[in-house]
C-alpha cells in the first residue's frame, strides 16, 4: 500500500474502510470484537439486576432513592449527540473531506469529555453520600457496570485523539480510513450500551 498516494473526492472509493484486504479484515474483526463486548456487558447487566438494592441488612441506599435522574438525562443527551456528530465525521470521511471530518471528530471528543466529567462528578457525589465501592454488593455491581462503560468512553476518546493528531498532517488514505471508521463504530457501540444503562439502571431504578 502506498501511503503517499493522493486521493481526490473523485478517486476516493465509495467504501474506503473496506477498500483494502487489511481494511476488510479489520472491519470483520471489529464486529466480532463487538460481539464479545456485547456478551461482556450482558454479563455485567445480569449481575447488576441480580444484585440491585442488595446490601448488608439495614443498608440505606436503594436505586429509587439514590440516582439523580436530571443529571443522568443530560448525560444521555450529550452522549447521543456525540454519536450523531461522529456520524457527520464519517460522512465527511466518505466524501474525502478531511478538514470537516476532523472538525466533527473534535466536537465529538468535546462532548465525550463533558460526558465523562459529569460521570466523575456523579460518582463523586454518591461516594460523598457514603455509597462507596465497598459499601455493598449493590454498589459494587453499580460501579462496575457503569464504570466499565466509563472506561470504554475513556478508551474511545483516547483513540479519537490519537488518530486525529497522528493524521493531522497527512490527510485521508485507505490506510487510515478504516481506523477512523472503526473508532466511530466503537463510539456508537458505547452509545448503545449507555442507552441500556440509562434504561435498566436509572429509569427502571427510579420506578421500582
Amino acid at each position: 500500500m502506498d501511503l503517499n498516494k493522493r486521493y481526490t473526492p473523485q478517486s476516493w472509493p465509495d467504501h474506503p474502510e473496506t477498500a483494502t484486504l487489511e481494511g476488510k479484515n479489520k472491519f470483520i474483526g471489529f464486529w466480532l470484537l463487538l460481539a464479545a463486548e456485547t456478551v461482556t456487558f450482558a454479563s455485567l447487566f445480569a449481575t447488576y439486576l441480580a444484585l440491585k438494592d442488595r446490601g448488608p441488612s439495614g443498608m440505606e441506599f436503594t436505586s429509587s432513592g439514590l440516582f439523580e435522574l436530571p443529571l443522568v438525562f443530560a448525560m444521555t443527551m450529550i452522549l447521543l449527540t456525540s454519536s450523531l456528530t461522529s456520524v457527520y465525521a464519517i460522512h465527511h470521511m466518505k466524501n474525502h473531506n478531511f478538514k470537516a471530518m476532523q472538525a466533527w471528530l473534535g466536537i465529538t471528543v468535546l462532548l465525550g469529555v463533558v460526558f465523562l466529567g459529569l460521570e466523575i462528578y456523579e460518582f463523586n457525589h454518591y461516594v460523598h453520600l457514603g455509597f462507596g465501592y465497598t459499601n455493598s454488593a449493590f454498589s459494587a455491581a453499580f460501579y462496575t457496570l457503569v464504570g466499565t462503560h466509563g472506561a470504554h468512553v475513556l478508551f474511545g476518546l483516547s483513540w479519537f485523539i490519537a488518530l486525529m493528531i497522528r493524521n493531522s498532517k497527512r490527510g485521508l488514505n485507505t490506510y487510515n480510513a478504516p481506523k477512523f471508521y472503526l473508532a466511530a463504530l466503537y463510539w456508537h457501540f458505547i452509545d448503545v450500551v449507555w442507552v441500556f444503562i440509562f434504561t435498566v439502571v436509572y429509569l427502571m431504578g427510579a420506578i421500582s
Binding site: 479484515n25 470484537l33 464479545a36 461482556t40 454479563s43 449481575t47 442488595r54 454488593a137 490506510y175
Partner: protein, 629 residues
C-alpha cells in the same frame, strides 16, 4: 529488504521467535509451551495418584493436595490442552485454506504471549506463597475463604491468558471468513478448518463471561468489592453461572478441534472421502450452538428448581444427538476404506470407543435425579477424563504424529509411536474405568485421603498403576521426539502419501510465504483431486508468480504482554499493607501496556514485499526457507 534465510546464532534465533508473526512459528511456540505445561500438569497428576495410592496416605498434606488438584485441572485445561490445539490451528488451518498468513499476524503473536505470560504468572504461585486451592472451578464460597494469594494468582493469570485466547479466536474467525483461496467455498473447507471456525466462535462468546467472573473475583479479593460476599448482599451462585456459561462451551472448544483432527485422520488413512461431510459440518455447528444452552447441568444440585433442572437436562441430552451423528459418519468413513494403521490412525480408532464411553456417562449425568447421586463423586471424574483424555488428549497425541512432518520436516518414529500408544491407551483405561465404580461406591472427588475400612483401596491402587503407564507412554514420546530431531531425516511434501488437503501439497516445513502462487481450489479434498488427475504440481494456480506482501515482525506483543504481567503483581499485592509499592507497580505495568499499544497504533507498519526474483531464487532451492532475517 531481503529476508531469505542465512545461518544464525542462538541469540538471533531467540530474537526471531520473540518477534515472529509467522503463524507457523507461533504454532511451534504454542506447541512447545503447551507441551511443557502438559508435562507440569502431568507431574501434578502423578503426585495426586501417589497420594491416593493407598488408604490413609500422608504423601501430600491436605492443603497441598487441594493446591495440586486445582493446579492440575487449571493447567491442563487452560495451559496445555487449549494452547496445543491453538498450535495445531495455527500450523495447519491457514495452509488448509490456501492463505499466506492469518488475518492479523501481529495479534496472533500478541495472543500467544498473553497466554504465555498468564501461564507463567499462574505457576509462579507455587514459589510465591502458595498455589490456588479452590479447584479449577474456583467456586466463590471456597475461593473467598482461601487465605493465601493463590486465588489471586488464579484470577489474574487466567484473565491474562484468557485475553490471549480471545484474540486468537477472533483472528482465526476473520482468517477463515476473509482469507480463503479462490474456489475454497465454505462447503469445501476441510473439517479441521470447520472445527477451528466453530471453536473460535465459541471462544469469542464464552470467554467474556469468564473474564467478567474473574474480574468480580479480583475486585472482591483485592479491592474490597462484595459481589460474592453474602453478608454484604452478594451472591456466590453468580460465580457458578458465569463460570459454567463459559465452562460448558469450553469443553466443546476443546473437543471440536479434536473432532477435526480425527476427521482428517479417518479420511487420510481410509483413503476415502469423509462419509457425510455435510452432516459432519452441520453437526459441528449444532454442537457449538447447543453448547451454550446446557451450562446448568453442572448445577443440578444447587437448587435452581425442578423446572430449570428439567429444561437443562433435556437440552443436555439433545447434544448427544449431533455427537452421535459424527460417530456414525466416522465409522462409515472407515467402512470399506483401504485402511492404513499408522500411529495417527490407531489413535483415531481407539478414540471412538473411549469417547463414546464418556458420552454415555455424560447422558447418565444429564438425568438430573441420577446426578444427585453422581455429583461430586469419582463418577464425574471418570466421565470428564473419558471425554477429555479419551477425546482431546488422544487427538493431541494423534495430531502430534500426523502434523510433525509438516511442522518440522521430519517423521516421528512409527515404532516408538506405537509403544507410546499402547502404554498410554492401556494406562488411560486402567486409571479411569475403575473410577466409575469408585464413584458408585461413594468415593467423593477432591478429598485428599480415605480410610482403610471404606473398601476403596484396591481400586485406587489400580487407578494409580494406570497413571504410571500413561507417564511411561509420554516419556517414550519425548524420547521419540529427541531421536527424530537428532536423526533429522527430511521428508517431502506429502509424507503420509495420502494427504488430501492443501497443506500436503507444499514443502515440509512450508516456506514462510506458504504458497508461492495462490492455489485455485477445485473441490473438497483439492490436493487429492489434483493427484487423481495426475497433476504433478499438486495444485492449479489462481495467479501468476509475482511479488508477495508479508508483514513485519515485532517485539511489541511481547512487551505488551509483559506489561500486563507486571501490572498483575501490583494488583495481586494491592491489599497487603506491608507492601507500599503495589500501586506504583500497577501503574508502571499498565503504562508499559498502553504505551506500547500507542506506539503500535501511531507507527505505520506496512510490511514488506518479496519480489518475484527472490521468490524464483528461493523456489530453485526447494522453496522451504523459514524466512528469518
Amino acid at each position: 529488504m531481503s529476508s531469505l534465510a542465512q545461518k544464525k546464532g542462538v541469540g538471533a534465533i531467540i530474537w526471531d521467535y520473540l518477534t515472529t508473526v509467522d503463524h507457523k512459528k507461533i504454532a511451534i511456540l504454542y506447541l512447545i509451551s503447551g507441551g511443557i505445561f502438559f508435562l507440569i500438569g502431568g507431574l501434578e497428576a502423578m503426585l495426586i495418584r501417589i497420594q491416593l495410592m493407598k488408604a490413609g496416605n500422608d504423601f501430600l498434606s491436605a492443603g497441598l493436595y487441594n493446591e495440586m488438584i486445582t493446579m492440575h485441572g487449571t493447567t491442563m485445561i487452560f495451559l496445555a490442552a487449549m494452547p496445543i490445539l491453538l498450535g495445531f490451528m495455527n500450523a495447519v488451518m491457514p495452509l488448509q485454506i490456501g492463505a499466506r498468513d492469518v488475518a492479523f499476524p501481529f495479534l496472533n503473536s500478541l495472543g500467544f504471549w498473553l497466554f504465555f505470560f498468564g501461564g507463567i504468572f499462574l505457576n509462579l504461585s507455587w514459589f510465591m506463597g502458595g498455589a490456588p486451592d479452590a479447584g479449577w472451578t474456583n467456586y466463590a464460597s471456597l475461593a473467598l475463604a482461601s487465605e493465601s494469594h493463590g486465588i489471586d494468582f488464579y484470577a489474574l493469570g487466567l484473565t491474562i491468558s484468557g485475553f490471549g485466547t480471545l484474540i486468537g479466536g477472533i483472528n482465526f474467525l476473520v482468517t477463515i471468513i476473509n482469507m480463503r483461496a479462490p474456489g475454497m467455498t465454505y462447503m469445501r473447507m476441510p473439517l479441521f478448518t470447520w472445527t477451528t471456525f466453530v471453536a473460535s466462535a465459541l471462544i469469542l462468546l464464552a470467554f467474556p463471561p469468564l473474564t467478567v467472573g474473574l474480574f468480580f473475583m479480583i475486585f472482591d479479593r483485592m479491592f474490597g468489592a462484595n459481589f460474592f460476599v453474602v453478608e454484604m448482599g452478594g451472591n456466590t451462585i453468580i460465580w457458578e453461572h458465569l463460570f459454567w456459561i463459559f465452562g460448558h462451551p469450553e469443553v466443546y472448544i476443546l473437543i471440536l478441534p479434536a473432532f477435526g483432527i480425527f476427521s482428517e485422520i479417518f479420511a487420510i488413512f481410509s483413503r476415502k472421502r469423509l462419509f457425510g461431510y455435510t452432516a459432519l459440518v452441520f453437526a459441528t455447528i449444532l454442537i457449538g450452538f447447543y453448547g451454550f444452552m446446557v451450562w446448568a447441568h453442572h448445577m443440578f444440585t444447587v437448587g435452581l428448581g425442578p423446572t430449570a433442572n428439567a429444561v437443562f437436562a433435556l437440552a443436555t441430552m439433545i447434544i448427544a444427538v449431533p455427537t452421535g451423528i459424527k460417530i456414525f459418519n466416522w465409522l462409515l468413513t472407515i467402512w470399506g476404506g483401504s485402511i492404513k494403521f499408522t500411529v495417527p490412525m490407531v489413535y483415531a480408532v481407539a478414540f471412538i470407543p473411549s469417547f463414546v464411553a464418556g458420552g454415555v456417562t455424560g447422558v447418565m449425568q444429564a438425568i438430573a435425579p441420577l446426578d444427585y447421586q453422581l455429583h461430586d463423586s469419582y463418577f464425574i471424574v471418570a466421565h470428564f477424563h473419558y471425554v477429555i483424555v479419551g477425546g482431546v488428549v488422544l487427538a493431541i497425541l494423534a495430531g502430534v504424529h500426523l502434523y510433525w512432518p509438516k511442522m518440522f520436516g521430519t517423521m516421528l518414529s512409527e515404532k516408538l509411536g506405537m509403544v507410546t500408544f499402547w502404554f498410554f491407551f492401556i494406562g488411560f483405561h486402567l486409571t479411569f474405568f475403575i473410577q466409575h465404580f469408585l464413584g458408585l461406591l461413594g468415593m467423593p472427588r477432591r478429598v485428599y485421603t480415605f480410610g482403610a475400612d471404606q473398601g476403596w483401596d484396591l481400586f485406587n491402587a489400580i487407578s494409580s498403576a494406570g497413571a504410571l503407564l500413561m507417564a511411561i507412554g509420554v516419556i517414550v514420546l519425548l524420547v521419540n521426539v529427541v531421536i527424530t530431531t537428532v536423526k533429522n531425516v527430511r521428508v517431502g511434501n506429502d509424507p503420509w502419501e495420502d494427504g488430501r488437503t492443501l497443506e500436503w501439497a507444499i514443502p515440509s516445513p512450508p516456506p514462510f510465504y506458504n504458497f508461492a502462487q495462490t492455489p485455485l481450489v477445485r473441490g473438497l479434498d483439492t490436493y487429492w483431486i489434483e493427484k487423481m488427475e495426475g497433476n504433478k504440481k499438486g495444485m492449479v494456480y489462481a495467479e501468476p508468480l509475482g511479488d508477495i506482501h508479508m508483514p513485519n515482525g515485532s517485539i511489541i506483543p511481547f512487551i505488551m504482554s509483559f506489561g500486563m504481567f507486571v501490572a498483575s503483581f501490583g494488583a495481586l499485592y494491592f491489599q497487603d499493607d506491608s507492601k507500599p509499592w503495589t500501586l506504583a507497580v500497577l501503574i508502571i505495568g499498565l503504562a508499559i501496556l498502553f504505551g506500547s499499544m500507542l506506539v503500535r497504533s501511531l507507527k505505520d507498519d506496512l510490511g514488506f514485499h518479496i519480489t518475484k526474483e527472490e521468490l524464483m531464487e528461493d523456489l530453485k532451492k526447494g522453496g522451504n526457507t523459514d524466512g528469518s532475517k
